[in-house]
């Protein structure tokens, strides 16, 4: 049994779901959704949980991550309750719920907080460069190391614990609820380890890994959305482009590389990043599709910063090749600022995590379904 908590709905409004209360539970959204199935039926069920404020069930649910936001539900909603945006808001709320630091929630709910953080990082970058006397070579060298450490630090300190929390809410806690009151010997789990792993045998964890990588790199499930081929393709090359750019700059040291292949690869992938994100930004400005109609600050920051990252990286390398980077050192500082803001704010506390949680959601979903069999 759960007690109705109307405060949850009010909280969720701060994450962008402003209209879901109009829902009269007709289920049109679920009927038109091309990803909803008998076992995983949404969005109506999630709207209902949000209305009644059932935080526990929402925290344990993977459904928000199973939605890839084609917007059909919102276009067809007779009450204009905007279920698509509710699912998006639930993803934001879940992100905040998984985040142990609490900063995700703060940034989602408060634009000023995000701006303050952005400004602080900007000041930090400029302050550091000033302390080095704006020495291009030195700053660029440290900048490269910063990237490596930022990635490792953010992943180890924030993302990994958050993923563990996600696993705890989705897999472990519900399994405990199921076995509550039973002695360990009475549970259906075959071993103590399985019990510790939330009722799912280790073997299943391993055999399901292929699904995890498949979804992480391809977002295959998004193809299930109707008329989504273009958006999926853009997204696909953006992910590949972004990951390759990360690899090229961090591990192949693109900005210092003499290798022709690395140089050209860098140009190519940075161009992909800014071209695709340019299309995303203009889409959000034009609002011509349901998916791009409702943009929250977190959405803007994500696409714009990704775009800026691509553009500035491209230009920095171009300036290096034309040997004018030292006389135009501001460009590198701009790039570094964007990079630092991206790595320290948007990646750990912003929309970037959706990429990670989605992949893990597909993985956990597979785990649950395999274990149920």
């Amino acid at each position: 049994m759960s007690r109705i908590n109307p405060k949850f709905g009010k909280e969720l409004k701060k994450y962008g779901a402003t209209e879901f209360n109009s829902c009269y539970n007709c289920g049109t959204c679920t009927a038109v959704c091309s990803l909803s199935t008998g076992d995983d039926s949404f969005p109506r069920s999630m709207v209902r949980l949000s209305e009644t404020g059932n935080e526990e069930d929402i925290s344990a649910s993977l459904k928000p991550w199973l939605c890839y936001y084609c917007g059909e539900c919102s276009s067809n909603c007779p009450q204009t309750a905007n279920p698509g945006e509710l699912m998006m808001s639930l993803r934001r709320w879940l992100t905040a719920k998984y985040d142990w630091t609490g900063l995700s929630g703060l940034m989602y709910k408060s634009l000023p907080a995000t701006i303050v953080a952005m400004v602080l990082i900007f000041a930090g970058v400029i302050g550091y460069a000033a302390s080095e006397g704006f020495d291009a070579e030195k700053v660029m060298h440290i900048g490269h190391y910063f990237e490596m450490f930022a990635i490792a630090g953010v992943f180890g300190v924030i993302l990994l614990p958050n993923l563990f929390r996600m696993w705890y809410f989705v897999i472990f806690k519900p399994s405990r609820k199921k076995t509550a009151g039973k002695a360990e010997s009475e549970t259906e789990y075959s071993s103590r380890l399985t019990n510790l792993l939330g009722g799912i045998p280790l073997r299943v964890y391993l055999t399901s890994l292929s699904d995890f990588f498949l979804h992480m790199f391809t977002q295959k499930r998004a193809l299930g959305c109707d008329d989504n081929q273009k958006r999926w393709f853009e997204h696909f090359i953006l992910v590949i482009g972004y990951l390759t750019l990360l690899f090229t700059t961090v591990f192949l040291d693109w900005f210092s590389s003499e290798n022709m292949f690395v140089i050209i690869l860098g140009y190519l992938v940075s161009a992909i990043v800014f071209i695709v994100t340019f299309d995303f930004v203009t889409g959000r400005i034009k609002k011509n599709k349901e998916v791009s109609k409702h943009s929250r600050p977190s959405d803007w920051f994500f696409v714009i910063w990704l775009f800026l990252m691509g553009v500035t990286a491209f230009l920095v390398r171009l300036f290096i090749d034309f040997n004018i980077i030292e006389s135009n050192f501001w460009l590198y500082l701009f790039h570094l600022t964007i990079l630092a803001q991206w790595a320290l704010i948007i990646v750990p506390f912003g929309k970037w995590t959706h990429f990670l949680y989605r992949s893990f959601a597909m993985y956990f979903d597979k785990l649950q379904k395999s274990a149920a069999k």
Partner: protein, 572 residues
Amino acid sequence: MKKKLGIYICACGGNISDYVDIEKVKDAVKDEDCVILAKTTMFACGDSNQKDMDADIKANDLSGIVVASCSPKLHLTTFRAVSERAGLNKYNYVHANIREQASWAHSDNKTGATEKAILLVRAAIAKARLAESLEPIVIKSRRSVAVIGAGVAGLKAAISLSRMQDEVFLIERENRIGGNLANLDTISPENISGKELLIRLEEDLKKEKNITLLTNSEVVGNSGNIGDFTLTLKISGSEGSTTKDIKVGSVLVATGFNSYIPADGEFGFNQIANVITLPQFRDILRNADSKKFVFNGKVINSVAYIYCVGSRQVKGENKYCSRYCCTAAVQASLDLKKKYPDIQNYHFTKGVRTYGKQELIYKESNSAGDIYIQFLDKKPPIVTELDGAISIKAGDLLSEKKEIEALADLVVLVTGMVPDKDTSIGSLFKLPKGRDKFFNEIHMKLRPVETVIDGITIAGTCQGPKNVMESVNSALSAAAKSHSFVSKGELELEPIVAYADKSSCNWCNACSDACPFNAISKIEAEGKEVASINKSTCKGCGMCLPVCPTDSIELISFTNKEMESMIDVLAQ
């Protein structure tokens, strides 16, 4: 003179002919005595066949018609009209039902169905041979109407009748008019209060010259029949009560409803503090402080409404939907929120029925953050006290039927309508009641304001739950119907009535006891007491016939001779 009969056997587009061999039926009856013409037809009720019948009657100088088709409920009047158009008295038309009684009833046995159809048509022919031409009974009618009950339906009906120049007696039991209307607050979707509506009606009433308003008056006696009723009124005044007789041509009953009062313990009513009914809630809200909503010394921050209390009961008697309460409850919750915006409303419903334009206030309430829980019949809300608040638990259909709980400071039981507990008018006029114990119309769609008692119409919530708009609609409809009874000064009645043979009757009271319409009275004739049947009141139901020990009563058009001739055919 020997009758000349025409027989038509209908295929009903296959409904009959798929199971009954209609050609065989035709062949079986075409040589019957008096039959000079027998035909089959695809659709007897169709325009072309009606024209053929008309031509046949004229060309062959037919003196009787039999159509074997569907139930007479559907097309008796159709073929009577055909006969009249062709210049044949309509009572020479006899209907045989070979669809409901043969083809549909015996679709598994085609031979048997055909045999039965043949017998049914032969029996109809036997009756048609003996059928007589009849003329309608014409009676005088007074141009005045009594309207009983001065609620919104009665007021509206009285004003409407007065505007049609009928004399109106508006009779009200209470000392004021308005009935339940005066207690209603905001009425959706017009957003007008019951009080404002009543003021408007009072003003309209004052302008009407043909209305005699009688408050503190009860109808205690009724005699006469359509066109000429005599009602006895008991009028209470400061100096005791007086009686008065009024004479009217029609009576319009608009006696309204009572609000359901929950039983002790029903959803905690009268057992848990702060569990109240919707009318009580309205009273409290009307008089509540404008800053804080305090009830029973407690500041109210959340209110739960439990719908369908006393309506749509699974276990109780009231199976019906009271129609107005969903809208009234949603409206009340909106009014509450308008006054105190921070209050949280929870609605425990059986499915919200804010139909038509009322849907708009449901949407408004929903969008404003009210939470609706659709409880299951199997898991109705359980109301208990919990830590100084009230806990309401129910299975929620919309949350995968899981049990869900709300905590509220006040529980409002959304009570429906029940029939007026004063049943005197119903008994006095012998008005039939439906299973819901409200007065019953003849047919909810085709004759929605008439009762089986000629001349008596019903309007408003005495007939069944209605909202204000529906009450007004039915009042205007009933007014038009009552007006049609009195407007011409005379009335034509169906001549199929019973009559008693004075020579063989020895008054024994049996027929009078059996008559559901009070049509039989005792008179002195030929030096003895005999039964006399009032032609205007008799409905020709035949209840008096079998109880008569001396077989002195005959029913016109269903005489013993006619019935026996039909039975003879069927028993062959």
